[in-house]
């Protein structure tokens, strides 16, 4: 049996450097806000799926799903829960599992959470831990970091397509402009192109302003079956497409250093499921953990041909443009808590489609696409949401 699945509520704990808050606290806050927003009670939950990437290494805490469930006061409801891990796409992977759980007919309502505490460790230590999203034995062993691999892609991309640094920087400038309107964002400050171009080098040609920050944060969504939505007269947002694709793990194993094939395949599949074309998309949340990945995503998702993302960027990607990119503020400025970001992107899409995005509302938003990428591109998850 296969049936429609809807999002009926969302909640978030503010993203940022939350020194005084624990992983469980922010996860519970987001989850309970989502329950409240959906107008359900925790006893209604059929299952909980928790996206978390590095909790074991950073917070030395595994099994976040059960911990959060208990601390949300629902241990007595005996709700099955599981943590889902797919590195930086963990949140989107958890969302997809919840979607499949309802679609299959097993559950009527499911909760998705995504949470990460990135700031528990010092600078260089966290670089070692985050390098577990790339190949430890054949990339990180040699001195590679996630930023270094993105930089290698960036240099090749810029050379092959004659793209200047300014085009990359625009992705970050746009993120900051949008995040200034998002009270849950890590960074609320706007940045100028000049500031973006002249920041401290991280891995050349990328600098600090090309790189998403280490953020703490949690996001949550409540999903419900078509039956439930109809019975209760709820106007949910429909999950029209959900696809995940997997490719080569290490960057050096791929045919192209600036093509994430899983993104292309996941986008194609999700659009086909939704029965719409790329031109129908009203807004997109892309995984721009590094500015170059933003350009690559716009191409691999199908908005531009390879090497041509600069045309989209030059035409404008702001909230009032033809293709609003990352109205939430994106990974660069809303923030990048690994396991939360994939859920956070969908929270944004949900609120946009419900016309509840306040100052950053995209006009006439009908179809939203979200894109989450694991590591340097080992896997990608694309979702399409819509209002009928």
């Amino acid at each position: 049996m296969s049936r429609g699945v809807y999002i009926i509520g969302s909640g978030e704990a503010k993203y940022g450097e939350l020194w005084d808050r624990s992983l469980r606290e922010i996860a519970v806050e987001a989850g309970l806000k989502a329950v409240e927003s959906a107008g359900i009670r925790t006893k209604d939950l059929g299952a909980i799926y928790m996206g978390n990437s590095l909790g074991g290494d950073i917070s030395m805490q595994e099994h976040l799903s059960a911990l959060m469930s208990d601390h949300a006061g629902i241990a007595s409801e005996f709700v099955p829960s599981v943590r889902v891990e797919a590195s930086t796409a963990s949140g989107a992977a958890a969302f997809r599992e919840a979607y499949l759980g309802i679609k299959s007919g097993e559950y009527e309502i499911a909760m998705v959470g995504g949470a990460e505490k990135m700031t528990e460790l010092y600078g260089s230590e966290i670089i070692d831990i985050t390098s577990s999203i790339i190949d430890r034995e054949w990339e990180a062993f040699t001195g590679a970091t996630p930023a270094a691999l993105a930089a290698i892609s960036a240099r090749k991309y810029m050379a092959d397509f004659n793209v200047p640094r300014e085009i990359l920087a625009h992705i970050s400038v746009n993120d900051h402009a949008n995040a200034s309107l998002n009270e849950n964002a890590h960074f609320r400050n706007k940045i100028t192109l000049e500031q973006a171009l002249n920041a401290t080098p991280i891995a050349e040609p990328l600098n600090l302003m090309d790189c998403a920050p280490l953020s703490d944060g949690a996001s949550s969504l409540i999903l419900a079956s078509e039956n439930y939505v109809k019975e209760h007269g709820i106007e949910g947002v429909k999950i029209m497409g959900s696809a995940m694709s997997q490719g080569e793990f290490a960057l050096h194993s791929r045919k192209s250093l600036y093509t994430v094939e899983p993104t292309r395949i996941a986008a194609e599949t999700a659009l086909k499921q939704a029965g719409i074309g790329i031109k129908d998309i009203s807004m997109v949340e892309i995984h721009d953990s590094y500015s170059i990945y933003g350009l690559m995503a716009l191409e691999d998702l199908g908005f531009a041909k390879k090497g041509n993302a600069r045309e989209i960027v030059e035409n404008g990607i702001g909230i009032d443009s033809n293709l609003p990119v990352n109205p939430s503020g994106g990974l660069k400025a809303k923030g990048f808590p690994y396991g939360a970001s994939g859920v956070g992107q969908i929270v944004e899409a949900y609120n946009q489609l419900k016309n509840k995005a306040g100052k950053r509302q995209v006009k006439n938003a009908k179809y939203a696409m979200t894109h989450s990428q694991a590591g340097s591109g080992a896997a990608s998850i694309v979702h399409i949401l819509g209002v009928e």
């Binding site: 070692d128 990339e139 990180a140 040699t142 240099r155 991280i202 891995a203």
Partner: protein, 134 residues
């Protein structure tokens, strides 16, 4: 620590760049693979060790400024993706040159070097890095 067994296990590949050749299609893999991603099950039992000469060309590179603890003493360092003459691409550092001398397309050869240290009294890891062919 688990780190140690992982490094011992990979020694033939790290120390003398031992890869694998699929005897079904003749493709060479480095880092080594146990299954050929082209031949799939037809490659089972046919992935034989093969020595890599260590010569190749820089496809792209970066100068790394923010590093994990084990690499702090080396920073900034040049990290590249190199296409080996045998076919595969790998990740490795370019040493003994200034970043300004390095270009995409530069020819390189492998050298045996200290890669990293686990703190002041910890294990020293060795393996391949690359130098520009002069």
């Amino acid at each position: 620590m688990g780190e140690l067994s992982r490094m011992w296990r990979e020694m033939p590949s790290r120390y003398r760049m031992e890869g694998r050749k699929c005897e079904n299609c003749s493709r060479v893999y480095f880092p080594p693979r146990d299954i050929c991603p082209v031949c799939h099950r037809d490659s089972i039992g046919k992935m034989k060790p093969v020595d890599i000469a260590g010569n190749g060309e820089i496809i792209s590179y970066t100068v790394v400024h923010e590093t994990p603890p084990a690499f702090i003493r080396q920073k900034p360092y040049v990290l590249a993706i190199i296409k080996l003459d045998e076919g595969p691409m790998i990740t490795g550092q370019i040493v003994d040159s200034e970043p300004e001398e390095i270009k995409m397309g530069s020819r390189v050869k492998s050298v045996f070097r200290r890669i990293s240290e686990d703190g002041k009294s910890g294990v020293i890891h060795y393996g391949y890095k690359f130098t520009l062919e002069k």
